[in-house]
């Protein structure tokens, strides 16, 4: 074709395009008369022009959206029986005209949508018509009616719809400053209309605010119901490639994942669309910012990214709010386009305006937090089947919310409680994520060892996919904001590792082991153990019984057993792990050292202090060299070593190690961190063992606070800290506080660790001791008894833990007058420990007390003597055990009438205790109490009076109803009587006796003493 001819054709084509259909025919005829071939060429161009579905018509981007559509200048006069008034808008699929019907009978305005492309074949027209008929039956006050339809003269299908004059729903909310509740009610109207259509099997497919108008009267009208399906090329074009189906008709911001993926579109797709609309109505923004993103990117976001919690992003949108907020009213959403860019905010210079804005935002976010968050997120689930089952269900849930009843979204969410768990596990979850991500690197080594380097890339990729999926699939409702549900990830991860890596046992074991460590970090020891054992099995089978991997697995399982209190088996497995590792490595490494330290802790718990100390020493050497003394593992070992020395009676060594350990930490500047919490707790324990009680208590309290911030309230580490704090409070004499904390710790331990976990048992006994001090003997006895029952089954008779428990159980029984029971318990303890054990010091003391209570002064005397002899041999001078025995012995001397002999001893005890305890402290009271009696016995009632008054002051933290208060009052009365203040003295003697009787009964050994004292005073 010549250029000349080509230019001519182009000009003629221009004319044709400018002409009306009739005019076109005229041009063609004119050209044909002149040059038939030119007419043929022109006709071919017009035909090509009218053609659709070519490469350039790929809807959207690469093609012109408006291609093949009439120019605005080519506004048609009429469409069917309607007279076109103006163009309302145009989009990728067609043009919408405002038109009027005026046939003399009635007048109405309609919107006519003319669809580009065309239904040309009879078959296509039939399908278009059939679909149109279905839509025409949709009769609902909130759905814009489809009146009519047809095909234009030039072959384009059109639809005639109810014309709605209104505002898009989001704009309506904003302009009318609707409250959250009003917005919810308006939304419910929308959802009900959608539900109506769904029941007639019509899916909207393109729900968005611009398709939901609200008229001036506040009436909601949904536009374009089901139109998207009619517009679908598969509907009209019939043979459009499958990949195009349904893709181009979505509005990215409102597209559901299944639309992006080209999966079937169902009513659930509309539920998702409603979710986005609700999100936007409540928060003033869309869940995803897709502006300016490449399609690949937004497709990925829709399919993979989790929407934010509405309450985390909501901004007040009403005009008033925007005004008060000091933001240019709707400066950021002028045309319904939301600009997250802060530059769109126009700040004003009134500070109060900003404050009001912040208040409003906070109020709005508070309203959304919780139920509304959950409801919105449930509509926005990626998986259609996990959304609300119908639009009506959303309405029901929103109504439940408005009525303050529990919502389905909450009950439905299996992860609801878990989420609370996870949200308190931020640190652990972070750790979990780190460990999970490190899997990729971690198992590369395993692969190389397995000699499978060729498959390494493939496997690494699979592993990466796995991890990616795990994080991606994490359910929004199970996580708070950016916090991922560690539990959910792990459970899925573990299941998939078991399923998908079966043919790669080496890698499978490595991954299982890693996941087990994450469970371990979360304190879920049983689950961790299960996986660690599975990894161990795999390694034993595939990598050899004495492989390093097997050694590591033995170590891991052993540690997990230790955490669960299975000490003996833990010792066995940790020992095995050490043995293998020793034989396989040339020089000690940090893994060996850690295992040594773990084993040492277990040996220490079993009372095998010498072995423990030796292992701690070895481990510390290696850890110092390889990790440095500041490493947490080294710190733990250091502390273990100090404790072992202490318990071995190697006090100087212990002291030196304590100093080293303490010197490393500045407790004032610690920030919340697991290692810091551990250090705080260790230091608290060191201080307590060194009798620096008032330094220990605040540290233990800080440790509790830190761990509560870091972990779930029932995490073992929290319970451990609480238990330690409880003891610290007891040590500083705050018995009521101590009892409260220990009761709390025990409650948590019972629930999360189980009745028989070592920490539960320890905590229970600690609570028993404080109950004992408070004089609540029956409770104390019952509490400790249940601990003994467990320990009897679990532990060897000579296990120190069992001995101490028996001893602790004996005390309240003694005090409560159940002397046979007390003696039985002390005897069992003595039989187990033997007469030469350090633990027997207090057991012999207990037996002596029982003998004394029975009036067996001779027996008591020899038992006290034996106890003190053992203490002198085993304990450093001034040990608290010794003080206890000395104070108890004083009561014997008093009973013997030799009380005055004890004055020096008790003065000495008081001095020692005064260095440890600050007044008022019941421990000082318990010393002053017999001291006063001794002064009285020694004929110095004035001194006795002063001392006894001090004793009462120091008993401030035990109840007034305690028999000790009664006894000390009685003594004071005797002292007053001795000084001639008879009336006052007798009153105290009587009241004191009454208090004792009321507390421990008239037949108790305590009341016999006060009764005798009262009788003596009366007789004097």
């Amino acid at each position: 074709m010549s250029d000349e001819r080509r230019r001519r054709l182009d000009e003629l084509f221009d004319e044709v395009l400018d002409a009306s259909p009739d005019g076109r025919e005229g041009i063609l005829e004119r050209v044909g008369a002149e040059d038939p071939t030119l007419r043929a060429d022109l006709e071919a161009l017009v035909a090509a022009h009218e053609r659709s579905g070519g490469i350039l018509d790929t809807p959207g981007g690469l093609a012109t959206p408006g291609a093949g559509l009439p120019d605005p200048s080519e506004l048609p006069q009429r469409i069917g029986i309607y007279r076109v008034v103006s163009e309302l808008g145009r989009g990728g699929m067609g043009v919408v005209f405002l038109a009027e019907r005026d046939d003399g009978q009635f007048w109405r305005r309609v919107a006519i949508k003319v669809i580009s492309g065309g239904a040309r074949s009879a078959d296509q027209r039939a399908r278009f018509e059939a679909e149109r008929q279905i839509l025409a039956t949709l009769d609902h006050p909130n759905i814009a009616r489809l009146y009519d339809g047809g095909v234009t003269e030039d072959g384009r299908p059109y639809l005639v719809m109810e014309y709605v004059d209104g505002l898009p729903i989001d704009e309506y909310c904003r302009v009318n400053e609707l409250t959250v509740e009003e917005r919810i009610r308006l939304f419910c109207t929308v959802a009900r209309a959608v539900h109506h259509a769904h029941r007639r099997l019509v899916v909207h497919r393109d729900l968005k605010p611009t398709n939901i108008l609200v008229t001036n009267d506040g009436e909601v009208k949904l536009l374009d119901f089901g139109i998207a399906k009619i517009l679908d090329p598969s509907m009209l074009g019939g043979a459009a490639p499958q990949t195009r189906t349904g893709l181009h008709l979505m509005t990215p911001e409102y597209a559901a994942p299944e639309q992006v993926m080209g999966e079937p579109i169902t009513t659930a797709t509309d539920v998702y669309g409603l979710g986005i609309v609700l999100f936007e109505m409540l928060t003033g923004r869309r869940p995803f910012a897709l502006d300016g993103l490449a399609p690949v990117e937004w497709a990925r976001i829709i399919v993979q990214e989790l929407p934010p919690l509405p309450s985390s992003v909501a901004e007040p949108t009403s005009e008033a709010a925007a005004g008060a907020a000091g933001f240019g009213a709707e400066g950021w959403s002028v045309s319904g386009e939301h600009h997250p860019d802060p530059a769109f905010y126009v700040p004003v210079d009134v500070d109060s305006g900003r404050l009001a804005a912040r208040d409003q935002r906070q109020r709005l976010r508070r309203l959304l937090r919780g139920d509304l968050d959950r409801i919105v997120l449930k509509t926005l689930r990626k998986e259609p089947e996990r959304r609300y089952g119908s639009a009506a269900r959303i309405v029901e849930d929103l109504e439940r919310h408005l009525e303050g009843r529990p919502v389905e979204a909450r009950a439905d969410s299996a992860g609801y409680r878990l989420r609370k768990y996870v949200s308190r596990h931020r640190v652990s979850v972070g750790a979990a994520a780190v460990v999970a991500l490190s899997l990729v690197g971690g198992t590369a080594a395993a692969l190389t060892q397995a000699g499978r380097a060729t498959r390494q890339a493939e496997l690494a990729a699979r592993q990466r996919d796995l991890m990616f999926d795990l994080f991606r699939l994490s359910d929004p409702a199970e996580s708070q904001g950016d916090t991922i549900s560690a539990r959910g990830i792990l459970d899925r991860g573990a299941a998939r590792i078991e399923q998908e890596f079966g043919e790669e046992p080496v890698m499978q074991a490595a991954m299982l082991s890693d996941v087990a460590s994450i469970y371990e970090n979360l304190g879920m020891f049983a689950r961790a153990e299960e996986l660690a054992r599975r990894a161990l099995e795999l390694r034993l089978q595939n990598q050899g019984e004495r492989s390093l991997e097997a050694s590591e697995s033995y170590g891991q399982v052993g540690r997990l057993l230790a955490e669960q209190g299975e000490r003996e088996e833990a010792i066995e497995l940790l020992g095995l792990s050490l043995d293998i590792r020793h034989s396989r490595i040339s020089r000690p490494d940090s893994i060996l050292a850690r295992t040594q330290s773990d084993l040492a802790w277990q040996l220490r718990a079993g009372g095998r202090h010498a072995e423990a100390a030796q292992l701690f020493e070895q481990a510390l050497q290696v850890q110092q060299d390889l990790l440095g003394i500041d490493h947490p593992e080294a710190a733990s070992t250091l502390f273990g070593l100090a404790v072992s020395h202490h318990e071995l009676g190697q006090f100087d060594e212990a002291e030196a190690v304590f100093e080293r350990a303490l010197a490393r930490f500045d407790t004032a500047t610690m920030r919340p961190h697991p290692v810091a919490a551990e250090a705080l707790l260790n230091i608290a324990m060191i201080r307590r063992l060194r009798s620096q009680l008032y330094d220990a208590e605040p540290l233990a309290a800080s440790a509790v606070k830190m761990r509560e911030a870091l972990y779930d309230p029932t995490h073992p580490d929290v319970i451990e800290a609480l238990s330690e704090w409880g003891v610290s409070l007891r040590d500083v004499g705050r018995y009521e506080d101590s009892e409260r904390v220990l009761a709390d710790a025990l409650d948590r331990a019972n629930r999360s660790l189980g009745f028989d976990h070592p920490l539960t048992l320890t905590t229970r006994e600690r609570r028993g001791t404080v109950l004992f001090h408070l004089g609540r003997y029956a409770e104390a006895a019952a509490t400790v008894d249940s601990s003994i029952a467990v320990k009897r089954d679990r532990l060897e008779p000579d296990d120190p833990n069992y001995i101490m428990a028996l001893s602790r159980a004996g005390d309240p029984n003694w005090m409560a007058g159940r002397l046979d029971r007390a003696e039985d318990l002390f005897r069992q303890a003595l039989d187990g420990a033997g007469r030469t054990s350090t633990y027997s010091i207090l057991v012999l003391d207990g037996l002596a007390n029982v003998a004394l209570a029975r009036g067996d002064l001779v027996g008591a005397d020899s038992l006290f003597e034996e106890s003190l002899g053992l203490a002198a041999e085993k304990l450093r001078p001034g040990h608290r055990y010794t003080q206890t025995v000395l104070v108890d012995e004083a009561f014997l001397r008093l009973a013997q009438g030799r009380g005055a002999e004890m004055i020096d001893t008790l003065e000495n005890v008081l001095e020692i205790r005064s260095e440890i305890f600050h007044e008022p402290h019941p421990a000082l009271g318990r010393t002053l109490h017999p001291l006063g009696a001794a002064y009285l016995a020694g004929g110095d009632p004035a001194r006795a009076e002063a001392v006894l008054v001090r004793a009462i002051e120091n008993y401030a933290t035990i109840p007034d109803t305690h028999w000790r208060m009664g006894d000390v009052s009685s003594l004071l009365g005797a002292a007053l009587v001795a000084q001639g203040r008879r009336a006052e003295g007798m009153r105290l003697l009587r009241e004191g006796h009454a208090t004792v009787v009321a507390h421990v009964g008239p037949d108790s050994w305590q009341s016999r003493i006060t009764a005798a004292r009262l009788a003596a005073a009366r007789g004097s």
Binding site: L17, L45, G54, P59, L62, T64, A239, L247, P295, V296
Partner: protein, 199 residues
């Protein structure tokens, strides 16, 4: 290529060149085209390498990425339009080369996948169809050809094209409509009834 050296320097170059192009400096255009072209090819190679099957290209994403890499994001919109105009030519060549290789590799049935600029998930094209389009484009008047290249291969907006070409929006629209008819006339000679169903 030069990317590995001083990327900031290169970015500065590109920004300056774009300014010069906007100012009507034809030599600047000569220097800019190879930069853009090379970058796009490198990105395309990387993309193809990344995709195991080796037959998908995300056209618009490539152009955008090249633009960000070469020019950065803080460039005036008019420069962006000029860049896209240059990139459109390069994209056409890359895509068509790619289609030819597909076809030569006797995998003619495979689709060449590109991405729509603003409204779509990946859409596939037959290599034959792209090659036919390429050939048909050569027969067009230069301005119509440019409109198609800008719009189809670089996803430029009507207004951007109008700015680059120095014409009105309406002219761009009209040129597109006409170019489309010319192209279809030669690409689909079986006339308007030859719908996609027969392809």
């Amino acid at each position: 290529m030069r990317m590995d050296g001083n990327q900031n320097g290169l970015r500065g170059d590109v920004t300056q060149l774009l300014e010069a192009v906007r100012g009507g400096d034809a030599r600047a255009m000569d220097r800019l085209v190879p930069l853009v072209y090379e970058e796009l090819r490198a990105l395309a190679r990387r993309e193809l390498h990344r995709e195991q099957q080796g037959h998908t290209l995300h056209a618009t994403a490539l152009v955008h990425e090249a633009y960000i890499k070469l020019a950065g994001s803080a460039v005036p919109a008019s420069d962006r339009a000029h860049f896209l105009a240059i990139a459109s030519r390069a994209m056409r060549q890359i895509l068509v080369d790619h289609a030819r290789r597909r076809k030569a590799a006797k995998r003619g049935g495979d689709m060449v996948c590109t991405t729509l600029a603003d409204a779509g998930a990946p859409v596939e094209f037959r290599p034959d169809e792209l090659i036919a389009l390429d050939a048909a484009l050569e027969q067009l008047e230069p301005r119509q050809r440019q409109v198609v290249e800008f719009r189809f291969f670089a996803g430029m907006e009507e207004k951007e094209i109008a700015d680059v070409l120095g014409v009105t929006d309406r002219t761009v629209r009209r040129e597109w409509v006409k170019a489309r008819a010319w192209l279809y006339r030669s690409m689909y000679p079986d006339g308007p009834s030859g719908s996609t169903a027969t392809r």
